[in-house]
């Protein structure tokens, strides 16, 4: 870990202000808390004043570029152009309903190549209305000639549907729809996941999405940015999930409301794209508008392997203004859980060892990616033994599912995750979808239909989130989830050899 210096100074370009902080014993150090001074507004257009040089954060720069502004300031309302709009089976039918009602039956969508439709929420259910909603999506795709639709028609065997992917946020990334510098809106709060790619991405409602369908634009307020610098040596027992639980616990479920959250520092630089997605995915759990990681070679490699489309990466200017800055020494963080019933109810996992659990769930956009399952499998393999509670596995997408069966887990004698899970007594990996992360129809796989206690790698634990409103959900990393499955209680993964 780079030791934190005794005092730290930072100055904000253009403000003439310098802030100092003193060394604290805690691993979280808040450097400064200061409102950004807005530059004086000019009524002159950029063409008459030349290029205005002002240091911008990543989010500000992306939004400036998408609104034909040379500069923007937090709080400014702008019309942004939209590079991609994503919707799914829960909000897609309503979004198209609003589009047709407001723009007319004969209207065309603004650009059928920029709309991505990913059925994922309620797929493997006999609920007739849920099935109908996927049918509506298919009708809309055909009617408007929409280019990207990841359809499923044979629900009895997901593998018979090569187009079907699974959880929208992970499918967006894996199918090459996430690109640095772009603006993505989606009718799902976890759309912020794509900020991992250095783009502006946020969730919206059906009405706003219906507006975008017709116009390709949206009126939004430029958010101020909170900067999170993650430094220090990442302990072997921590995963990205622990870091975002730490951050949410620190700033609370409303701490990021209306704000952009920028994650930077050596720990982020060393992360894979999947790790960065885990972090950005949960900014909405802090109320954040969007999360963003600086794009780098890791980002470019991932994107170039999945799309030939060009993109233009954007970075924060040095001297950009941040409304707050937090520094975390990750070497001092312990494995964490968010206890019921709020994602900011942060506890050390070791302090919850007396919590008896009924089940473990590994899945979702936050915790159901390939690396999440590899981590869980690695712990199970190293620790040996059998799980003491039902352990449900829901790969986010078909690709993740295939990785479980086809990819050896590093350091585990050539075994695949599926082999390790089977040997440990876990449930067979389920068809990819959102499944029980958000409860869903009563027949949803692994839905909590009883008031049980669950350790889950998902993102929310408000009352009723996974089905039963008196159920209790502990949010945790895949390591902590796997350790808890072996213990039958909330467990600390350090006790299981990671």
């Amino acid at each position: 870990m780079a030791n934190l210096v005794d005092t730290f100074s930072s100055s904000f370009a253009g403000t003439g202000l310098t802030f100092k902080r003193h060394k604290s014993q805690r691993c979280v150090q808040q450097v400064c808390r200061n409102a950004i001074a807005a530059p004086p507004a000019s009524s002159r257009t950029p063409s008459s004043t030349g290029v205005v040089k002002k240091a911008l954060t990543m989010t500000e720069k992306i939004l400036a570029k998408h609104s034909n502004n040379t500069s923007v300031v937090p709080g400014q309302n702008i019309w942004t152009s939209v590079d991609k709009l994503m919707t799914h089976d829960v909000c897609g039918p309503g979004t198209f309903g609003i589009f047709q009602r407001e723009f007319g039956e004969n209207a065309q969508v603004w650009d059928p190549t920029k709309i991505v439709i990913i059925p994922d929420h309620y797929i493997f259910t006999s609920d007739p209305r849920a099935n109908r909603n996927v049918d509506i999506l298919r009708d809309m795709v055909n009617k408007y000639g929409i280019k990207y639709f990841y359809d499923i028609t044979d629900r009895s065997d997901f593998r018979a549907n090569p187009d079907y992917k699974g959880v929208c946020h992970i499918a967006l990334a894996q199918e090459g729809h996430c690109k640095p510098g772009e603006v993505l809106f989606g009718t799902d709060s976890h759309t912020c996941n794509a900020g991992a790619f250095g783009q502006f991405a946020t969730g919206i409602g059906n009405t706003d999405a219906g507006f975008i369908l017709g116009t390709g634009k949206l009126l939004i307020k430029v958010p101020p940015t909170i900067r999170f610098v993650l430094e220090g040596e990442m302990p072997s027992y921590l995963l990205a999930k622990d870091l975002i639980l730490q951050i949410i616990g620190e700033i609370t479920v409303a701490g990021g409301t209306y704000k952009a959250m920028e994650f930077t520092g050596p720990v982020i630089e060393a992360m894979t794209m999947e790790d960065r997605m885990t972090i950005c995915n949960m900014v909405v759990e802090a109320g954040g508008k969007n999360g963003v990681c600086p794009p780098d070679e890791t980002t470019f490699d991932y994107v170039r392997q999945r799309t030939d489309e060009p993109f233009e990466a954007v970075h924060a200017d040095s001297g950009a203004g941040y409304i707050e800055e937090y520094r975390f020494d990750v070497s001092k963080i312990e494995p964490l859980v968010a206890a019921p019933h709020s994602p900011d109810n942060r506890r050390n996992a070791r302090d919850c060892r007396d919590v008896k659990i009924d089940r473990v769930y590994i899945g979702s956009c936050t915790g159901g990616k390939t690396e999440d399952f590899m981590a869980a499998a690695k712990l199970l393999h190293k620790a040996g033994g059998q799980v003491k509670v039902p352990t449900f596995l829901v790969p986010a997408t078909q690709r993740v599912w295939a990785d479980l069966y086809g990819m050896p887990v590093a350091g585990c004698d050539g075994k695949t995750a599926a082999q390790i899970f089977e040997a440990a007594g876990c449930d067979t990996p389920a068809p990819p979808s959102c499944a029980a992360c958000l409860g869903g129809p009563k027949d949803t796989f692994a839905r909590m239909n009883e008031p049980q206690v669950c350790v889950s790698t998902t993102n929310r634990n408000f009352p009723g989130r996974m089905g039963h409103k008196d159920g209790q959900v502990y949010l945790a990393s895949p390591y902590t989830a796997a350790a808890s499955a072996l213990a039958g209680t909330v467990a600390d993964p350090r006790d299981y050899g990671v």
Binding site: V90, C91, P93, G94, G97, I98, R101, E102, G104, H121, Y122, D127, R129, A130, N133, I136, T187, D188, S189, T191, G203, I204, G205, N206, T207, D208, F211, V253, A254, T257, Y258, V284, G287, K289, S342, L438, G439, G440, P441, K442, R460, F462, P463, G464, R465, G467, K469, D470
Partner: protein
């Protein structure tokens, strides 16, 4: 019902033009009961995911969605249901929240369900960003803010009047008044019934 079940079209000046932003929301005698919800009421509690198969833009499903509004609140914390069993509408048009009302999922079904149930106003300390935006763009609810923690001052079923002109909430039994923050330019959009209707009425969008 003797009221005024508060109707948006009545506050719009006849003959077009700008709204006068002068309206008293709840004037009926039996329609102004409050319903208290505590802090961090997330959208899963407002409308649990199992009901999201209902498509809000379909009128019959809109009504049905309303009958499930706030059904996800934990029973041990909330003795009285927002909507009585077997009913489609609420008897509480004013919902009083705490901090971070509407956090969680971006589902527009949340403000839509509350509006479809007959809720008119939420008064809370703060809102989650997407919920606030969805209230305004759909025109389903007035998301009013206050610095006061009214969910600890009032009781469910208490009768109040919300005056959106003076930005005051008055408890009818005691006459005690609480200051609300001005709703600003979001008010006329909710008056109009959402962003599309607002855009048409103000000439931002051509009327077909």
């Amino acid at each position: 019902m003797k009221d005024v079940q508060y109707n948006r079209t009545t506050v719009w000046p006849l003959g077009g033009g700008q709204p006068d932003n002068c309206y008293t929301l709840i004037t009926g005698l039996d329609t102004y009961k409050t319903y208290l919800a505590l802090m961090n009421i997330d959208t899963d509690q407002i409308i649990p995911a199992e009901y999201l198969t209902l498509v809000p833009s379909k009128p019959e499903e809109y009504e049905k969605l309303g009958s499930y509004a706030l059904i996800g609140l934990p029973t041990e914390l909330y003795e009285k249901r927002f909507i009585e069993e077997g009913r489609m509408k609420t008897q509480y048009p004013i919902v009083i929240g705490g901090q971070n009302f509407g956090c969680g999922s971006s589902r527009e079904h949340a403000p839509v369900a509350m509006g479809a149930a007959g809720a008119k106003v939420v008064v809370a300390q703060t809102y989650a960003r997407i919920f606030f935006r969805n209230c305004v763009s759909t025109g389903e609810l007035y998301p009013c803010e206050t610095d006061l923690r009214l969910c600890e001052e009032l009781e469910t079923g208490e009768e109040v009047e919300v005056d959106m002109n003076k930005d005051v909430l008055t408890v009818l039994a005691t006459g005690k008044q609480y200051q609300l923050k001005p709703i600003g330019e979001a008010g006329p959009v909710v008056d109009a019934g959402g962003i599309f209707e607002y855009a048409r009425r103000t000439g931002m969008m051509k009327v077909a």
